[in-house]
């Protein structure tokens, strides 16, 4: 089966000067939850932006490689058309319209062609029943968790096939994150929506993901099943904070040598 | 360049003193000397209409440089520039009419009045930013024009205040060639003052404020003081330009300082290229000359005479079109074109700059 999303050897250059990511390849199959892990500046957000069509705003552009979604090339498409194809992004910051009420936030998005809008809006409320209580509340007054719910819900209203979630856990209490993560799984299970989850918090991401990619300095250094990644020594040490005793920085070099280069 | 030592191909500065130098290479010196010579010869070959245009350009350049300091460097938007020019012109006019004050009193007086007004109207900038600041400066324009208009009517100068040509001893500045050099030296002074300000601590403080006020504050820059300083210096320079305008034209009248004039100055710095003194000068040249160039071009059309009445309206419309095309196709302004041309010759036969380095 062809993957739903295929990113091939993607290279993005900012301001015609700074190469942000180099030769990133990844795939997401229908119904999968794929995690994209990495520290600050690893190129996770750039990858997401490249997929969702927002590179142009920062004077960045794809210099090499290709992005395919359901056999459509996504190069040079404006963001709203990419949304119409079925890829919807839940951004890291500014994820709701603060001066609109919850209901208005849910009625603003444009659904993909052929989607039953009414059903989508109802579904948003079934996944996030709490939002129904907050219907008339101005979105700017919601708590962080509620905001994230609203952001996910309004992304669902667009009727996506692929949901891109940027930093689900950022600034949220562990309990809330846990809850939201379970909702993502539910969404995937019930609607068959593919989810690409970008996270710094590898514990959360790997707990719900099927597969994962680890990015560093604009390259993919590790990939594989979530279970395999979880048990990988480097991941244990650098992302999950395990592996017992502290090592000195001298040993970090070992890790550097052991990583694989793609592309 | 026939230098025996290998010439550096990059842009290297090995001390702060070098960074502060105005002219660095021999090419720059040569260009400057050639340019000054050309400016010196120009009045002796030009017709008086061309001289008049040159004088207008110098006056506009002083105002544009002042506005560039404020908007392009310190990041404070102003739409009250015409009001400041009016304030300077009226200071000179009123001092002359009421007290018969001399040239060398009225010009500094205009500078002081400009500085005071700048101080007062810089105060909102401590609270306001962007568009709202622009509008508060717009109010300045209306107030100055109202006061000027009342003065004119109450004193019975209904067609404007007439000012005698300035006199230095027995010598009267009336000839346009002399005006050319007077205005040229004022414009050059404005440019030098600005260059010196910008390469000093003040200039760097302004740049910091423009980039990010909060961070500038955190870096220990006195943001309010530097903002006010920008307003004071810019307003003072502008008011001097206004006083010079009054003397050069021989009259002062409120109608000369319409809102459109403010907009023309904003157009100069945007069309010239934000954040560059060269841009301010190029913008002043462009915006001042464009209507005349269009007028000339249109007059060349066959049979232009027979629809002369419409010609004027056509000029007006064409001015709008050229401005629009410029804004759409050259957002970097004239300086952008200038740098591209410069780079083209510098890098020839290569096409693009290498990554990093190079002169911006």
């Amino acid at each position: 089966m062809n993957p739903l999303l295929r990113v091939e050897k993607l290279e993005v250059v900012y301001g015609r000067a700074i190469t942000s990511i180099q030769g990133i390849s990844l795939e997401a199959h229908k119904g999968e939850i794929v995690a994209l892990l990495g520290t600050n500046g690893a190129g996770k957000s750039t990858t997401l932006r490249a997929i969702s069509g927002f590179l142009g705003l920062d004077d960045a552009r794809v210099t090499e490689g290709a992005i395919h979604f359901k056999d459509n090339s996504l190069a040079n498409r404006p963001p709203y058309l990419i949304t119409k194809l079925g890829i919807v992004l839940v951004p890291e910051r500014d994820k709701v319209f603060p001066n609109l009420s919850v209901v208005e936030n849910l009625s603003a998005p444009v659904a993909t062609a052929g989607a039953n809008r009414k059903r989508l809006e109802e579904m948003a409320f079934t996944f996030f029943p709490k939002l129904a209580e907050l219907r008339g509340r101005t979105a700017g007054l919601l708590s962080g968790g509620e905001r994230q719910m609203l952001a996910l819900a309004s992304a669902l209203v667009c009727g996506p096939e692929l949901l891109l979630v940027d930093e689900l856990s950022l600034g949220l209490a562990p309990v809330v994150v846990e809850d939201l993560a379970q909702r993502l799984v539910e969404i995937r299970d019930k609607l068959g929506i593919t989810i690409l989850l970008v996270e710094q918090n590898a514990t959360v991401a790997l707990s719900i993901a099927d597969r994962g990619y680890v990015l560093e300095n604009g390259r993919v250094v590790l990939d594989g099943d979530a279970a395999r990644l979880k048990s990988h020594g480097d991941i244990q040490e650098f992302y999950l904070g395990g592996a017992g005793e502290r090592r000195s920085y001298r040993d970090v070099k070992q890790y550097r040598r052991s990583r694989r280069w793609y592309g | 360049m026939s230098s025996r030592e290998p010439r550096a191909s990059g842009y290297f500065r090995s001390s702060y003193a070098q960074g502060l130098r105005l002219l660095e290479t021999r090419t720059q010196w040569t260009a400057l000397v050639l340019f000054l010579t050309a400016l010196g010869i120009f009045p002796f070959t030009a017709t008086s209409f061309q001289l008049d245009l040159a004088c207008q350009v110098f006056l506009a350049a002083i105002g544009a440089i002042a506005l560039m300091l404020l908007t392009g460097y310190a990041g404070q938007v102003s739409l009250g520039h015409a009001g400041l020019i009016a304030a300077g012109a009226f200071t000179a006019g009123i001092l002359f009419k009421e007290f018969g004050a001399k040239f060398w009193i009225t010009i500094p007086a205009a500078a002081v009045v400009g500085a005071l007004i700048g101080l007062i109207f810089g105060l909102p900038s401590l609270r306001l930013r962007g568009l709202y600041l622009a509008v508060s400066t717009l109010a300045l324009h209306f107030i100055v024009v109202y006061l000027g208009g009342e003065y004119e009517t109450k004193r019975g100068f209904s067609t404007g205040i007439l000012i005698d040509a300035p006199r230095v001893g027995d010598f009267i500045i009336r000839d346009r060639k002399i005006w050319y050099f007077v205005l040229l030296s004022f414009a050059a002074a404005a440019l030098l003052i600005s260059l010196n300000l910008l390469r000093s601590r003040t200039g760097r403080a302004w740049a910091a404020i423009r980039s990010h006020e909060t961070i500038a504050e955190a870096l220990g820059i006195g943001v309010p003081a530097h903002k006010l300083l920008a307003f004071v210096i810019s307003s003072s320079m502008t008011a001097v330009a206004g006083a010079l305008f009054g003397y050069y034209r021989g009259f002062v009248s409120v109608e000369a300082f319409s809102l459109f004039l403010s907009i023309q100055y904003v157009a100069m710095i945007i069309i010239g290229g934000m954040g560059s003194l060269l841009g301010a000068i190029l913008g002043a040249v462009f915006v001042t000359l464009l209507p005349y160039v269009i007028e000339y071009a249109v007059a060349q059309l066959p049979n232009a005479r027979s629809y002369a009445g419409m010609l004027a309206a056509f000029n007006y419309a064409a001015f709008g079109v050229v401005m629009i095309l410029f804004l759409i196709f050259e957002p970097q302004g004239l300086v952008g074109i200038w740098r591209r041309v410069q780079n083209y010759f510098l890098l020839w036969p290569f096409k693009q700059k290498p990554l990093g380095g190079g002169r911006k």
């Binding site: 927002f54 705003l57 404006p78 709203y80 949304t83 119409k84 919807v88 992004l89 951004p91 500014d94 709701v96 319209f97 001066n99 609109l100 208005e104 936030n105 009625s107 603003a108 998005p109 444009v110 992304a155 667009c158 | 908007t71 938007v77 909102p124 609270r127 306001l128 930013r129 962007g130 568009l131 709202y132 509008v135 508060s136 717009l138 109010a139 209306f142 107030i143 109202y146 009342e150 907009i263 904003v266 157009a267 945007i270 934000m274 419409m310 004027a312 309206a313 056509f314 000029n315 007006y316 419309a317 064409a318 001015f319 709008g320 079109v321 401005m323 629009i324 804004l327 759409i328 957002p331």
Partner: protein
């Protein structure tokens, strides 16, 4: 009583014009300084349609208003679309340049002389008695239209899907695009609506008191009204217009008519000192522009 009516008419004029500024600013953060010129253009379009449909004034009126809407959309598509992403000041300057172009065009096409659309339509501007005062038919129409436009805009922005999208795009264009909203459609719509309301204002003012190029200046006078209210709020624009109009008329009545030009800006400065974001504007706007 006449005092109240005079204030009401002037408020209606300013409010109808001000909502044009607000619509565009709210959605795209651009200040349209060509609004006065667009308004004037619409009134001149009426002169032309009136001569085309001289028998049926209402068709002429409708055609002029429809053409104005098209002009607004075209202005966005061919001009302002290219300025998205540029410096706001450059975009504002572009509208100024557009204004210059339009002024020239109007003289080229319709000549500089005074026109009278009411006469061209064969209408007489009757004067109607109300509550012990009098109001012209066009003045009454102005008040009614302004009320309708504000109610209509309120309903549109609050309840229609495109209205909500317009508000969304104004708050966070990036997110709006991510939610599948085509910003170009929204911006074009805003320009169209803004020009439409401007056209209504321009046409009604010219029906009331004739048409020449001073119309542009009236457009500019409504600008402080929009600012006093807060540039991104319709309620604010309405209230701002009331404040400015009342200040102006009272100044004419009791102090000095000559000050009526300066008063709006004095009010504005007071406002900027105490509430820089306007009566109803959003506070965060300050940091955005």
């Amino acid at each position: 009583m006449q005092l109240a009516i005079n204030i009401a008419v002037l408020t209606a004029i300013y409010a109808l014009i001000a909502c044009g500024y607000v619509l565009i600013y709210r959605v795209s953060r651009v200040l349209n300084l060509a609004h006065g010129e667009l308004m004037m253009l619409s009134a001149y379009l009426l002169i032309t349609t009136a001569s085309l449909f001289s028998k049926t004034p209402f068709i002429a009126l409708g055609a002029a208003i429809f053409l104005s809407l098209c002009v607004g959309v075209l202005v966005y598509l061919f001009l302002m679309r290219r300025m998205t992403g540029e410096m706001v000041l450059a975009a504002v300057l572009t509208t100024v340049a557009l204004g210059v172009l339009l002024r020239g065009l109007v003289v080229l096409i319709w000549s500089a002389q005074q026109q009278n659309p009411a006469q061209a339509l064969g209408w007489v501007n009757h004067s109607l008695p109300v509550f012990g005062g009098r109001i012209s038919a066009a003045g009454a129409a102005l008040i009614a239209t302004t009320a309708l436009v504000y109610v209509g805009l309120f309903l549109f922005l609050r309840f229609s899907r495109y209205g909500i999208r317009m508000r969304a795009a104004g708050q966070n264009p990036l997110l709006a695009a991510q939610r599948g909203i085509s910003l170009h459609v929204i911006y074009a719509l805003a320009w169209g609506l803004s020009t439409l309301t401007g056209a209504l204002a321009g046409i009604l003012i010219s029906l009331d008191s004739g048409l020449d190029s001073t119309m542009v200046l009236i457009g500019l006078k409504a600008f402080p009204a929009a600012l006093v209210g807060g540039l991104d709020s319709l309620v604010g624009a309405l209230l701002g217009s009331l404040i400015i109009a009342a200040a102006e008329v009272l100044m004419i009545y009791y102090v000095d008519a000559l000050l009526s030009d300066v008063v709006p800006f004095l009010v504005l400065i007071l406002m900027l000192v105490f509430r820089p974001w306007g009566l109803f504007g959003t506070r965060e706007e300050l940091d955005r522009v």
